[in-house]
Structures are given as C-alpha cells and as structure tokens.
C-alpha cells in the first residue's frame, strides 16, 4: 500500500502501527521524533495502537536542540 512519509511516496507491504513504521524507516531514536498522521500529531502513548493505512500522509518531526562540541 502507498503512503507518503515526509513528502516522499513509500510502499508498505502491510498495515503497521506507528512504532513499526518508525522501525521500518530505520529511525534510530523514536524518542526524538514526533509523528504527524494526516495533519494530527499522534500522542506518543498511542504509537503502538495507531495503525497506518493506505494513502496516509505521515511526517516525522525531529527534535533539534543544538549540537556541537561545547562546554
């Protein structure tokens, strides 16, 4: 089935939940990602129970603080 992740079309073999989708997409640190499904931010507690369906639009929004060698 076809879904759109961060603006790019992707094919998924089966319906998956958000946690599985993060794993399929090699998101190393799911704790660092907010997930928007069809315009609605998914509560982190609902990642396991929220199912991705055909034609869904998903955005992975990454936490960005700062990052550099500092003191």
């Amino acid at each position: 089935m076809k879904v759109t992740i961060n603006g790019k079309e992707k094919q998924l073999e089966n319906e998956v939940n958000v946690l599985e989708l993060l794993a399929i997409n090699d998101v190393e640190m799911p704790e660092m990602v907010s997930v928007e499904l069809n315009g609605v931010i998914v509560d982190r507690d609902d990642f396991g129970s929220t199912i991705i369906r055909e034609n869904d639009t998903i955005e992975f929004l990454y936490f960005m603080g700062g990052g550099s060698v500092g003191f």
Binding site: M32, R44, G65, G66, G67, S68, V69
Partner: protein, 269 residues
Amino acid sequence: MDFNEQQIERYSRHIILSQVGVEGQQKLLNAKVLIIGTGGLGAPAAMFLAAAGIGTIGLVDADNVDLSNLQRQIIHQTKDVGKQKVLSGKETINEMNPDVNVVIYNTFVNSSNILEIINDQDYDFVIDGTDNFAAKFLINDACVMAKKPYSHAGIIRFNGQLTTYIPDNDTACYRCMFKEPPPEGAVPTCREAGVLGVMGGVIGTMQATEAIKYILGVGESLAGYLLTYDAFDMEFRKVKINRKSNCPVCGDQPTIKELIDYNGPVCEL
C-alpha cells in the same frame, strides 16, 4: 523621528522596497527584539537585525566566548575569546550600527527570570537561539503565557528547523509539535552531535526574517508551519502543524500554568 542623511543612505535599500519604505524603516527603528542565546543561531540573527536597524536588541547569555564557538558564532571574533558573549555581541553591533541600543543580560534564562527579561523592555518579538530543550520549552511556555510572538529554531548536524508562534492566532506552539522534552538518555550529547557551522547562519537569518516581517506587518509568517532544512540533500520542507486543542500550555484547558525548569544537558549551539 526624522531620518538624518546617513540613515537615509544606510537604509536606502530597505526604503526603496515598497513593502518597507520610510514608514517600515521607522517601525524597525522603533522595534525591540529579544534574542535568547548569542550562539550559532543568535549571532547571525543579531547581526542582521542590527544591520536592519532594529532600534533595541536584547541579548541574553551567560557564557563566555570559546575558541570552538568561532566556527559558527560569527558575532564573536578571535580577540573576544574569554569575553562575556553578551558584551562581545554588544561591541560588534555597536561597531556595525550606532542606531541600535543593545541591552545585555549576562544570565541564562530560568523559570524565575524569563518573564522579567521578556517584559523588561516590552519586547515586540523574541528569538529562541538556545541550544537545549530545557530552555526551548521554557521560552515556549513563557511566550505563550506572556502572549509574545517568538521564533523557535533548532539545528543539528546538516539539519535545521524553525517555526513562528503568534499569540491569539490559533497558532501551534512548540508543545503542540513536541509535547515534552525527550528523555535525557535519548539526546545525543553535544560532543557526539556536531553541527555544520553554516546551519546557524541559514536558520538564524530566517529567524531574523520572521521578526522583521512581523514588525513590518507584511508577508506570510511560519505561524502554523514547521520549516525544515536538510542541507545534505539541499531540501526545504514546510509542514503544516495544527494547534492542539489539548496542548498542555496553549490548549483550551492548559495544565501547565507555571514555568518549569527541566534538567538536561546544556551545550553551546
């Protein structure tokens, strides 16, 4: 206030823009912008706002300039190493544009001082140029509570993001996108992460752009959108984010009514 000849010349490329003009330049000269953090994001933001003739610029930072800052924090020079960042920033701005009154706060923001600082000069717009999630959530909550428009931004490696919060506008706030800071163990340490020096320049300059447009009252802001920039693939994306009616701070029944001091790693941006 009438422009003197030097000001007419200095701001001539603004004044000939139909969206700015004499009236708009006057608005910029009367405006007050607070920049929290004078690092990777705050440095370029401060320099372009100063060049644009923002009349009052507040700089907040408790750090001193370190040699490792100079790869991206372009408001500081080699001779400034060891100096208070706010002082170094003030000197650079004063040399660039004598029209700008620089107010400095040699402190980090926390729950007990941030509202006082934001309201100190009745700032029109706040720029979050900080490097850690504790400060980012604090600034968001304070700006929501104080009804201050502000620009959020973050950078890491080859990536950056920003959004603009406008109060009373049904705008999503930072907490609508990211409910709470990530668990401490999840955040890459400063030493592990790294950042391409130019990222602060690109994103910090866009924060300054948002401030200028807000003050002029022109154009479309990033309110309700998260703009992401991937410099590695050279891709910009503008993602629509809706305000959450159950957001803990800007929602219809907020549960966060007092500012929170989160603990977390602090590193230089």
